[in-house]
């Protein structure tokens, strides 16, 4: 079974802090993604990566950056956390361009 593991289930951070969300997948998938999920807005793509050190912006990249130094690990960075970044963050991966994506369990981030 594909396993996508996010480092934290719940996080509480203060406004202005730099926040790191980590994601690891164990199936040698080429592609990895970060989404955020908010009530009424659904899942929105923040960034995705199709190879080590390669990344592309999604629909809502402002205020975020990413890092992919190893194939299995994809990190989302909030440079200076703000209250409007309070959300559920979901990491996903897939093998090929048109195959299904598998999700991690999610990180509920609260910025106070």
């Amino acid at each position: 079974d594909v396993k996508v593991t996010q480092s934290s289930r719940y996080l509480v951070k203060r406004t202005g802090e730099k926040v790191f969300l980590e994601c690891v997948q164990d199936m040698d998938h080429e592609n990895m993604f970060w989404y955020r999920q908010d009530p009424g807005l659904g899942l929105r793509l923040i960034y995705f990566s199709y190879d080590v050190k390669m990344k592309e912006k999604g629909d809502i990249p402002e205020g975020y950056s990413v890092s992919r130094e190893k194939k299995e690990r994809f990190s989302l960075i909030l440079e200076s956390a703000s209250t409007n970044q309070t959300s559920m963050y979901l990491c996903a991966s897939n093998l090929g361009q048109y195959t299904e994506a598998f999700f991690g369990q999610g990180t509920r981030l609260t910025v106070v």
């Binding site: 592609n31 999604g58 979901l90 897939n94 999610g106």
Partner: protein, 112 residues
């Protein structure tokens, strides 16, 4: 503009009462329609991929079908454990080819 609309937003069924969830989409060059199940506070769990009109997939009490403009998720004789939010997503050809566009989901509650 690519769009995915799910209906109804919420559905309450009695145990054993069969029904269908709808996912309508407008996308140029469909390259996959995906159904996911999401339990509260967790990441989406992959259910089905459909690639072409007329295709059908089944798993236990769930059956997904696809036409040129919409997909249905049929739930036969549901049980309380089928209660969850069901998400639909599409991937299109071209552009950011690995981008999934999600609907906002249907919240299903099955009462015993």
């Amino acid at each position: 503009e690519d769009q995915v609309t799910q209906s109804p937003e919420a559905l309450r069924l009695q145990e054993g009462e069969s029904s269908s969830l709808n996912c309508s989409y407008t996308v140029s060059g469909l390259r996959g329609l995906f159904w996911y199940r999401q339990d509260p506070g967790k990441g989406p769990e992959f259910l089905f991929t459909l690639y072409s009109a007329g295709e059908e997939k089944e798993k236990e009490r769930l059956k997904a079908t696809l036409t040129k403009k919409e997909s249905f998720l049929h739930i036969t004789a549901p049980k309380p454990e089928d209660s969850a939010t069901y998400l639909c997503a599409v991937r299109r050809y071209g552009g950011a080819t690995n981008k999934l566009i999600f609907g906002t989901g249907t919240l299903l509650a099955v009462q015993p």
